[in-house]
């Protein structure tokens, strides 16, 4: 999946919760209210959209701080350049 498509899915998750969704890649996840369960949902949406199973440990998630980290992680995990 393209990075921009993953970002759009992330923004939709924020929007559905009534949180500001126009977020930059540099935004801190704690500042925009994007929590680990939101990450879990985003991963499931990426999995569904890409048709590729996507499973991972929780440990690397704890090092993720920004929107860019989320996109990097999911692009790598889903095998996309």
């Amino acid at each position: 999946m393209k990075r921009s498509d993953i970002l759009q899915l992330l923004q939709e998750i924020l929007k559905r919760q009534g949180k500001p969704s126009d977020v930059a890649e540099t935004a801190e996840l704690s500042a925009i209210g994007f929590r680990s369960l939101d990450f879990s949902e985003l991963a499931l949406r990426v999995e569904t959209a890409s048709g590729r199973p996507l499973t991972f440990d929780a440990a690397p998630l704890r090092a993720i701080r920004t929107v860019a980290d989320v996109l990097d992680f999911l692009q790598t995990a889903s095998g996309q350049p």
């Binding site: 680990s36 369960l37 879990s40 949902e41 991963a43 499931l44 996507l54 499973t55 991972f56 440990d57 929780a58 440990a59 998630l61 704890r62």
Partner: protein, 241 residues
Amino acid sequence: MNPNAVIISGGSRGLGLVLVKHVLARGCAVATFARSATPDMAALAKEFPDRFLFEPFDSANTAAMDTFVGKVFAKWGGIYGLVNNAAIGQDHLLANMPVEVIGQLLDVNLKAPILLTRAVVRRMLLGGGGRIVNITSICGQRGYAALTVYSATKGGMDAFTRSLARELGGRGIWVNSIAPGFFPSAMSSSLAARQLDTIRRRTPTERLCKEEDLLPVLDTLLFAESNITGMTYVVDGGSSI
């Protein structure tokens, strides 16, 4: 029956190793297993040639586990105690967790100790009593994200403890659980220092558990004439109150 033979699963390192050394120091014969040997296993075999046995195998291999129990019974003429300690940890959100990992957790943490207990109980019933201690976890009683299936196995073992205690109490076989809070080990190494700090801050005794904290409870459950069975003892510095 030889009242001194105790099987402790997963005694190669971590809590299991502390338990093995402690029970050996009390003069018992100890048999343990794990998937891999550690230098401590060779050292203990040298120090206690007549009272220590280690064999490397995976507890998912039920035939190997059965053979091991038979060997311990034959070697020391009976089995007095069993400590179900071997387990694997988890660090996954359920929705994104590989299905195989769920199977492994259920096999190693729930099915294997139940089968090991069955094999041992069959000998204890013939021998006239015994003690079983299951090492569970505070996760069996409290909720922890990313530890869902692990928690289910530990809660399952606490439930197993209660029902087995009812089943076997009349034959002098007492069954209890010790549910530790978090302590530093290979298993808890996935917890970030920040998370361990949070647990420490929320603990009334202001420190994390260490393996040795469990020993007074183990001594009571394994060796004392206490009339205690079917109980789960939480050892966590009060963090769950």
